[in-house]
């Protein structure tokens, strides 16, 4: 029995090496001078941050980082607003066509986003929005899945709360903002985390909708940098760390909410 338990620990720890070593290896390599990249046992004393300052000074990595932050923040806030209100409407109000509209939102989730590539590109080109912040944010402010999550969440809030608030004389917006929003922190956390993550890591849409390196987000910038400077592994991997670290830190802070969100997506 005891032996078996030890074996379980060994396997579990080995697999955590599998998931973590690539990151450690990348950090280690990003701190080496270029000529040491394939010398696998470079002593720690030779390590420094010069590849980071190199890519920040000579390439627009700082600018790409700013773009990534601006776009992910705008899209996240927009989604939070749009999806929460819509989910609340579906859960709490009776209005004509409610059933049909909700079905349409659900059905549309089955259609893969790639169907939208051509028509959205054409629409944005007509509007002159290719390679602009509007183009990278405005089409992505709503998510049927998050509306579904919000609706499920609000359906679970007891009716009595609303009635009590009514007696206190709160109007419709008052009830929503003063009663429901403070209660829905887990819902808001799930939405923020997954929308932000999706946008921070997004590749397909930004690679289609940006043409100048002024508008690149970090993933697009890193890909294009790798395309031209693939021999400079220390700099390339410094870019990798720059793209990865912020998301890992956010994950470590909110790991409980991440796990809850993922678990519920599987059960539903």
């Amino acid at each position: 029995m005891k032996k078996r338990r030890t074996a379980l620990y060994v396997v579990a720890i080995l697999y955590s090496f599998v998931t973590l070593l690539p990151f450690i290896w990348s950090i280690y390599t990003s701190l080496k001078p270029t000529d040491q990249v394939f010398n696998f046992w470079t002593p720690l004393s030779k390590l420094n941050f010069s590849s980071y300052s190199y890519i920040l000074k000579n390439f627009p990595f700082g600018h790409w980082l700013t773009n990534s932050i601006i776009i992910a923040v705008i899209v996240t806030i927009g989604n939070l607003f749009v999806n929460t209100l819509a989910g609340y409407a579906f859960a709490r109000f009776k209005f004509p066509l409610r059933g049909i509209l909700f079905f349409v939102f659900l059905a549309i989730m089955m259609i893969p986003g790639q169907v939208l590539l051509v028509p959205i590109y054409m629409l944005l080109a007509k509007l002159g929005w290719i390679d602009t912040y509007q183009g990278l944010t405005i089409p992505f402010l709503m998510s049927p899945f998050m509306i579904f999550l919000a609706r499920q969440f609000f359906l679970g809030v007891p009716k009595e709360l609303e009635e009590a608030a009514q007696i206190d004389g709160l109007g419709r917006w008052g009830v929503f903002f003063k009663i429901f929003l403070p209660l829905s922190r887990p819902l808001l956390a799930t939405q923020i985390i997954f929308t932000f993550q999706g946008n921070w890591n997004a590749f397909l849409w930004p690679v289609l909708l940006t043409t100048s390196d002024d508008m690149y987000t970090l993933p697009i910038g890193l890909n294009s940098f790798y395309g031209q400077y693939s021999a400079y592994w220390n700099s390339v991997l410094a870019g990798v760390i720059m793209l990865t670290l912020p998301m890992i830190i956010i994950f470590l802070i909110f790991q409980k909410q991440f796990v809850q969100g993922i678990s519920s997506s599987g059960i539903k």
């Binding site: 409407a89 509209l101 790639q114 959205i120 956010i250 599987g266």
Partner: protein
């Protein structure tokens, strides 16, 4: 003054107006950025249509769809994507299940969950670049293999090894996510089921094989379908690894990469839209299978 406070839902009309006000932003987005574009894409999939030359759009009926199944490149992409799905889904699911069973039985659950999930929050571009370094001809993997006298290939430049290497990357990045779903599934199995099984003399492997795994059927099914839908849409990794062309020798060309290149490199936008609808049909079949089985189980 008034005996009764005004009801929050004074009348039906007022409630309907409020409902639509709350729903308005989502409805506008739905119409402008989803439903409208989807119908438009369906419409132009019956046209010979180039964005650069919209005047010369020509209605050609089902020709795009028929041509697709004679298009060697598309068939190759479909084959690669199927192979990728067939390779990734079973390994990833089995690994996720195994790790969940292990982590569920030891201390330090939080640490392992975090460690296993970190690859999932990492950008696909970052993952691809990290693995290209590890898999590079003089990289650490080949150096390691050299200890055993194995001369490792230049993985991403080899038509034989490029796709399997990308599959490995995909498995590495998503196992954590499916493991967490399995952990949640394990938590849903009531204690008394195990107690009853143990009374009947089931232990160890038998308990696992005859009780736990069958009870996780639903979770397994969900994981498999979710993972199939995801893997069939693979794009980022193959784009980064092949520099956007699906090479070497189309060995990493995926369906979505083919859509991307046909639509925006050679500007055959009607044709690319037809491809996207074929992808939609495939994913729809996966979803219908899921609903069919899960629906039957619920009865």
């Amino acid at each position: 003054m008034n005996a009764k406070r005004p009801s929050l839902f004074r009348n039906k009309f007022e409630q309907a107006v409020a409902g639509y006000i709350f729903l308005a932003p989502a409805l506008v987005a739905l119409l402008v950025f989803l439903i409208g574009p989807i119908f438009y894409a369906f419409y132009i999939s019956f046209f010979h249509f180039s964005f650069l030359d919209p005047q010369n759009a020509k209605f050609i009926g089902f020709s795009n769809y028929i041509h697709l199944f004679q298009d060697k490149e598309f068939l190759r992409a479909l084959g690669n994507t199927s192979l990728y799905t067939l390779g990734v889904v079973p390994v990833q699911t089995a690994l996720a299940l195994g790790l969940a069973l292990i982590v569920n039985n030891i201390r330090g659950k939080t640490f392992f969950r975090v460690a296993y999930y970190i690859p999932t929050v990492t950008s696909t571009v970052a993952v691809s670049v990290m693995f290209m370094f590890i898999f590079s001809p003089d990289g650490i993997l080949n150096k390691f293999l050299a200890n055993f006298g194995i001369h490792g290939p230049n993985y991403f430049n080899s038509p034989k090894f490029a796709l399997p290497a990308i599959m490995l990357m995909a498995i590495w990045s998503s196992v954590g996510q499916f493991m967490i779903i399995y952990l949640a599934g394990l938590q849903d199995i009531p204690e008394d089921v195990y107690e009853a099984a143990e009374l009947d003399g089931a232990r160890g492997w038998r308990l696992l094989w005859h009780v736990t795994i069958p009870l996780l059927r639903r979770t397994t099914f969900l994981n498999v379908v979710m993972s199939m839908i995801g893997t069939f849409q693979v794009f980022d990794q193959v784009y980064v690894v092949s520099g956007g062309n699906g090479g070497p020798l189309n060995s990493t060309l995926s369906v979505v990469l083919d859509i991307f290149n046909k639509g925006f490199k050679t500007m055959q936008m009607g044709y690319a839209s037809a491809m996207a609808f074929v992808l939609f049909a495939i994913i729809l079949i996966f979803t219908l299978i899921q609903n069919f089985f899960l629906g039957r189980e619920d009865k």
